[in-house]
Symmetry: C2
Subunit: 384 residues, 2 copies
C-alpha cells in the first residue's frame, strides 16, 4: 500500500429490491448502487463516514483500481491513512448516486419494464431521493448512525439534506463549497449546458443509446461551460495566461493561432464526453437547480435546520464564484440562529470551485483537525 493511500480498491454493488418512492411521485421498483469502502467498520459500527459526490463524481473516491491505474479516486487527497478522512479511524463509504452512469442504476441502465435503456424515461431525481437511497445503503452495511456525512458542492447539499431527513442518523455534517440553493446565474449556466446537449442532433430526444448514437459534441460544450465556471478568472490566468499553443499573431499565419486555454478546454470537453452519460448530466444539473433547502419551511432556513441534531463544519474558498463564500456564510448564519454547533473556515485559494478537490494546506489542516475530533468521539461510542 502506498503511504497515505488506501491502496488497491474494488467497487462493490448491491441490488435493492424494495421499491423507492421518489420526490417526483414515481416509484423505482428496483435499483442497483455501486459503492466502495475504505477502512474498517468498528465493532460499535460507530465510525462510518459517508462521502456524497458532486455533479460529475462517482463511487471511486480514493485509491486505485489496479496497480497500473493512472489516476487515483477523485478525492484521494483527502481520504486515506493519515489524511483528513483518515481510514485508520474511519470506515468510509462512497457510492455512485442513483441516476449516475458509473454502475448505479441510471438513464443508461436497462428499464426492466421495457427491456430498453431508460433514457429520457428515467425519473427526475431530487437530492432527497439520493439521501433516501443512501440510507438504504447504510441499512445494508449495518450503519445506523454515520460519524459524519461529507460532501462538496452538490455533495454538500446531500449532506445538509441528511441532517434534515434523518437527524438521528448522523453526528456530523461536513458541507464544503456548497449552498442552500443555486442562484439564478448558476441555473442559467446549467440551462445553457443542457441546451448544448439537447440541441445536438445526436441527442435524439434522449434516446441516443437505442439509436446507437452519442451527442458527444453537445456534452463537450456543456462540460466546457461547467469547467470554466468551476475555475476562477485568476486561476485560469495564472495557469494559461494568454499563451499561444502554436503559431504567432504575425501576418500570414492566421489559421494556426490558438491560445493554450482553447486546446485545454477542447481536450477537457472531448475526454469528458467520451466517458459520461448525457442524460445523467441533465439529471444531475436538474437536481442541483431544484435543490432548495428551506422551500418547504416557508423559505426559512432557520426553521429548516431546527430539525437537525448534528454538528456542522462548513468550508468555502475565496475565489469560488459559483458557490461563493457568502453562500456558505448564509448557511452558517442559519445554523447559528438554529442554535446548532457550527465551525466555519473560509480558505484562501485561487482555484475557484475546484479548490475543494485540490491540495491546500490550510484546508487540509482544518479538515484534519475537525475529523480528528469526530474520530475521537466515534472511538468513545455514539454521543447521541
Amino acid at each position: 500500500m502506498e503511504t497515505g493511500s488506501v491502496g488497491i480498491v474494488a467497487p462493490q454493488q448491491h441490488s435493492f429490491g424494495e421499491p423507492l418512492a421518489l420526490a417526483c411521485g414515481r416509484i423505482l421498483r428496483e435499483y442497483t448502487l455501486v459503492y466502495e469502502t475504505y477502512g474498517e467498520l468498528n465493532t460499535e459500527r460507530s465510525n462510518g463516514v459517508l462521502i456524497c459526490h458532486a455533479l460529475s463524481g462517482h463511487h471511486h473516491a480514493a485509491g486505485r483500481h489496479s496497480a497500473d491505474d493512472k489516476r487515483p479516486g477523485w478525492w484521494d487527497h483527502y481520504i486515506g491513512p493519515g489524511k483528513p478522512i483518515d481510514t485508520n479511524h474511519f470506515f468510509v463509504v462512497s457510492l455512485n448516486n442513483l441516476g449516475g452512469c458509473h454502475g448505479s442504476t441510471g438513464p443508461a441502465s436497462i428499464n426492466p419494464g421495457t427491456r430498453r435503456p431508460w433514457g429520457p424515461e428515467f425519473p427526475t431525481l431530487r437530492v432527497r431521493d439520493w439521501v433516501h437511497s443512501q440510507a438504504r445503503l447504510a441499512d445494508l452495511l449495518g450503519i445506523e448512525q454515520w460519524a459524519a456525512v461529507v460532501g462538496g458542492s452538490l455533495g454538500g447539499m446531500q449532506a445538509m439534506r441528511w441532517a434534515l431527513e434523518y437527524p438521528q442518523r448522523l453526528r456530523h455534517c461536513v458541507v464544503i463549497a456548497s449552498a442552500m440553493k443555486l442562484s439564478a446565474q448558476n441555473i442559467a449556466f446549467n440551462e445553457t449546458a443542457r441546451q448544448a446537449i439537447t440541441s445536438d442532433p445526436d441527442f435524439c430526444d434522449g434516446r441516443y443509446l437505442e439509436l446507437n448514437k452519442q451527442p458527444r459534441k453537445g456534452l463537450a460544450v456543456a462540460r466546457m461551460i461547467g469547467h470554466i465556471t468551476y475555475l476562477s478568472d485568476d486561476g485560469l490566468g495564472s495557469k494559461f495566461g494568454r499563451e499561444l499553443r502554436s503559431g504567432t499573431l504575425e501576418p500570414g499565419v492566421e489559421e494556426q493561432v490558438e491560445f493554450q486555454i482553447q486546446s485545454y478546454l477542447r481536450h477537457q470537453g472531448d475526454s469528458f464526453s467520451g466517458s459520461f452519460d448525457p442524460n445523467t448530466y441533465i439529471l444531475m444539473t436538474r437536481a442541483l437547480d431544484y435543490f432548495d433547502l428551506a422551500r418547504e419551511y416557508d423559505d426559512d432556513p432557520v426553521a429548516a435546520f431546527s430539525h437537525a441534531r448534528c454538528k456542522f463544519l462548513l468550508v468555502s474558498f475565496t475565489s469560488d464564484w459559483r458557490f461563493a463564500p457568502k453562500r456558505s456564510r448564509e448557511i452558517v448564519d442559519a445554523l447559528m440562529h438554529a442554535n446548532l454547533p457550527v465551525s466555519y473556515a473560509e480558505i484562501e485559494s485561487s482555484m475557484g470551485h475546484d479548490a475543494f478537490l485540490l491540495p491546500n494546506q490550510r484546508y487540509q489542516r482544518i479538515f484534519s483537525t475537525y475529523m480528528h475530533r469526530v474520530a475521537k468521539e466515534s472511538a468513545l461510542g455514539r454521543e447521541q
Copy 2:
C-alpha cells in the same frame, strides 16, 4: 421628432474600391460599409463623433427606421438631442464593422472572386483592420479629426486602437467597460461559444449559406453563454430569482418545472440566432481574443499609449465581471504614466457588463458632462 430622439433615420452605404491591407496579411480588394449619421457636421468639420460597436452591435445606434419601428437603436439612451452624445452639437457616425452581418461586407457577403458567399474564406480581422476601414469612412465624410471616438467593450478596444494608429485624428477617446486585452477566462467563454457554433452539424465547416442551412441551435447556445456573462449574478437574481415559469415542484408534475431564467435565456438564444450570422460571431469573438493593445510594445502599455495624443474618458461598472473595473484601472494607470489626460468613473451598477447600454443616472451625468466639454472645444475649433 420625439423629444430626445434623433427621430427616423436611414442607413447609408458606400462601396470602397481601394484595396485594404489586413493585419492577417491578406488584402480585401473592395468592401462596403453601412453607416448612419445623426446631427449635422459643422462647417469646420470639427464636431464628428465616431461610435464603435461591440460584439453583436451594428450601425443602427439611435433613432428608429420607421414610425412603427418597435425598438430604437442600441445606444438610443445615450445618443440624441440633450443626451450625452448630444446631436444638437455633434455629427455622430455609427457604422457596421467590416465582417459584420448588417449590411457591411462580411462572411455572409458574396466573394467577388468566387461569386459565392465568403463563409469561412472571409479573412480573419483584427481591431486595427476596423480602425483602418473606419479611417476611410472618415475620409469619405471629410472628417480629418474626430472630436471623439467612443466605444464600449469591443468598441472601447477600437477607440484605444484609434488613439495609437491615428494619434492626430481624434481629440478624445471614450473607452467604456473595456480592457487592454482579454483574460484567459474571457477567451475561454468565447472559445466555448465558438465550439457550440462549429459543432452544430448545420455549420458545415462554415459553408452553411451555400448549402442552405443555418446552425441556429449552436448559435443560440453561444448567445446564451454570452448573455449570462454580460449580466451579473445579482442582476440575474433580482430580475429572475428562482421564480418558476409554470408548474410547481410538487410530486407528479415534474415535466412542467422550469425556472423563469430558463425560458428567458432560450428566448434570447433563439431570437439572436435568427438574426445574426454565425461566421460573423466567430470573427468578432476572435477579434476580441486577439486584441492585445501593448503586444507590439513589449507588453508595456505605457510605451503603447506614449503614441497617443488625445484625452481619455474611462468608465467601468462595479458588477461587470467580464470587463471588470480593475481592467479599466489598468488602462487609467498606463495613461497616467504616459502623461495623458484621463478622467475615470467607476459606476455603481448591478447590471454587469450590459450596464454600458442601460440607463444609469451617474453614468449619464458623467458622460454628459464630459461630452459637453468636448462639444465646447469643438465649437471653438480644433485644439491641436
